[in-house]
Symmetry: C2
């Protein structure tokens, strides 16, 4: 059954090279393989579990890395900035790897959705990325005259902080490219 | 926010050791690691894409293996058997690895849901497993006096054929165990 697929535009790609901070910086292209984004602090087939997984694992348990890539949308970042009362929210402050545009409520992208890029690279959405305080601390440092940025970020970015994804097939990802959305097979019964 | 988690009971565990057939056989326990079920034909960190992924990949492309483990439910297998007009539908015929019970509409389990077993093994649901004709051919061979089993299986198992999963953390899985369901974080906006 052929159907028109939604497409997104890649606005920017970034790498966070420093293990000590989630700040990322713009690059000309991303190279991804099954471990994630080459040169990024989140690269790896496995990672150590943290607070997000505390219901399932003792902290520091080695688990498969399903948080390889951080995707953000320009529309949601602009919305969050407005809600926080600041002129803009840079993807660098959030450790974003790929900034896309063109889909309302991008953070609601379903787990299992494939994102296919022109070089053949395919990411799989692993689900919504719920905000923690670390980007808020970077935003606070960027706005020393405006107290309360940490709490404001966690509150206003909730549901608008993009998604995390893992790599299903390697390739390169460049700004200006179009990315096709392949929704996961849905559960349904026919009879 | 603590909440009561749903639990499933493991009724049986099986391995499909032969690359030439999807038939699986009951074993005393499964051992799983990041490649999947040890000794199973679907074991691997990667696999070659097939018809299911034809919208994204040329057939035979190496992609990350998200179809490591096949899970079935006793209730849905019984329902499918009734609809097909046969006394029972054995998980062996479907290449099932884990047969669970206790959740209505098990096949609707959301992608990103974690299944945690007592030894610490954790599987991640990758989504519904839509039926193809191969199990139907095995069922037909088991019922030579009843024509039409292949088409009947594909039709009646649709939405009831269980889910596929990948391994997030290694461990063992045994019949009789209880398995806890950890739903994925849901998208929502607070403000």
């Amino acid at each position: 059954m052929a159907s028109a697929l939604a497409e997104l535009t890649v606005h920017a790609v970034l790498v966070a090279p420093d293990p000590g901070t989630l700040r990322s910086k713009r690059v000309d292209e991303l190279e991804v393989d099954l471990g994630g984004v080459l040169g990024d602090r989140h690269y790896g087939l496995t990672r150590l579990s943290g607070n997000r997984e505390s219901a399932c694992y003792p902290r520091g348990t080695e688990i498969r890395n399903r948080r390889q890539v951080s995707l953000l949308s320009v529309e949601e970042c602009a919305d969050t900035a407005t809600r926080m009362g600041i002129p803009e929210l840079l993807p660098e402050w959030l450790g974003g790897n790929i900034v896309v545009g063109g889909m309302p409520e991008f953070s609601a992208l379903g787990a299992g959705t494939r994102l296919r890029f022109p070089t053949g690279a395919v990411l799989v959405c692993e689900g919504v990325n719920q905000p923690c305080r670390f980007p808020g601390e970077i935003i606070q440092a960027e706005h020393p005259d405006r107290p309360g940025m940490v709490a404001a970020f966690v509150r206003e970015a909730f549901g608008r902080r993009g998604v995390v994804a893992s790599v299903e097939h390697p390739g390169r990802i460049l700004p200006g490219e179009r990315c096709r959305i392949h929704p996961a097979e849905l559960h349904r019964t026919l009879t």
